[in-house]
Symmetry: C2
Subunit: 241 residues, 2 copies
């Protein structure tokens, strides 16, 4: 499976130290040998071991303190990298056919509830409100309600979203600097049940995302997935954090 590729020296040293930490041989708080000692042990220059230990520090496995030395870090809180793909890519990436319809579309002055969804305190600007239904293999996959801040993305008002759905189009258009996800479970209301073809009251996974650029909200989207047909999966290791 894995060919014997010659790892660079610093990666080799890093791996060796990492193994001692992950195996528990060096428990949290244990002092890692000094760079000087490691230079003698591995027979390389200090820059090389420095690169190895610095990488471990960047990964949060060790803490470095001047004069004191490097120490194995305390076990981290459970943080996981959750991949939430672009819907189009998520579906086509797994070999299924993809289609979407825009159920509703309205341009309006931002109402108080729109401002709340965007997380904006106040303001007077226009928003584009969209309701989109995405299909995977011709079955309803996710029900999307989106608000786009037209003060930031005026082009959205003129876009037909014929080639790409709004989410994909936005990703291609503007760089974002921050995003916020909220994940919860909800019972399907009449509207959602109808469009997703599930029973009323069926458990649905709701992912709400707000995307920001330099402090102002670009878009707020709520994605409702049928609970029994969709799940988010995340696999990770503490080292690659």
């Amino acid at each position: 499976m894995s060919i014997a590729e010659p790892l660079p020296r610093y990666a080799e040293i890093r791996r060796e130290l990492e193994e001692k930490i992950l195996s528990g041989e060096w428990p949290p708080g244990h002092r890692v040998p000094s760079e000087h000692d490691l230079v003698a042990q591995f027979g390389c220059s200090r820059m090389t071991v420095n690169k190895a230990i610095s990488a471990l520090a960047a990964a949060g496995l060790v803490v470095r303190r001047r004069r004191s030395g490097s120490f194995v870090a305390a076990p981290k809180s459970q943080e996981t990298v959750l991949e939430v793909h672009d819907i189009k890519a998520e579906i086509t990436g797994s070999g299924r056919s993809y289609r979407y319809v825009i159920l509703d579309r309205e341009r309006r002055r931002a109402r108080p509830e729109d401002l709340a969804r965007l997380g904006a305190a106040k303001g007077s600007f226009d928003v584009e409100a969209l309701t989109v239904l995405h299909f995977a293999d011709e079955r309803p996959f996710v029900y999307e309600k989106r608000l786009i801040n037209l003060a930031v993305v005026p082009a959205a008002a003129r876009e037909a979203f014929a080639a790409s759905p709004p989410g994909t189009w936005l990703l291609e258009q503007i760089p974002w600097t921050e995003a916020e996800h909220t994940i919860r479970a909800e019972n399907a209301g009449a509207d959602v049940a109808h469009h997703l073809a599930v029973a009323r009251g069926a458990a649905c996974l709701v992912v709400a995302r707000r995307t920001f650029q330099a402090g102002t909200t670009i878009t707020a989207v709520t994605l409702t997935y049928p609970g029994e047909r969709h799940q988010l999966v995340a696999r990770f290791s503490p080292a690659t954090r």
Copy 2:
């Protein structure tokens, strides 16, 4: 607020390049000046600019190709760091009172369905099966069903879990090397509805987690949260990935 701390030279260069990328001045695909050019521009050695660009590459903002140069990376797929805290820490951290009860506990030889939950193909070993209910401010917070692989953690059979609940105890006991999360929505069954004090059929957020050490599963846990009372929140920016 922020004092004028003298950033190291490589961090300063990194910040400057990063700003050009995040502001959109350098769109995806744009070629970053070569190390040689940056050396001339910033008046430092190549190792220093190399460190800056390498950091950007590690963060996924640029892609480096030999001979070709460094290029601004395409916008990444939406990946977010989801913090899933230890339950005890999660509750006490927000100032609420914490309590738990062990509803059920059994030591048994691993059954086929246990093996499936642990993700083990086959094997003959004992497991500790636990059902725990956690309270926040005396209200049911989460319903936990856990399996512990006693072949890896024999001490779990002798532990009373009097001071800490099993999840917290395990975190303190053994280092893990990998974990897998699955998040879905489910309608509450009779059992869950009773313990969480919600209506039957109420939407619940189900987080299933498997924790591994060097390939073998340590523990598999299913956490069921009442949907209307709990949500996972994740905030992140692409640069800090």
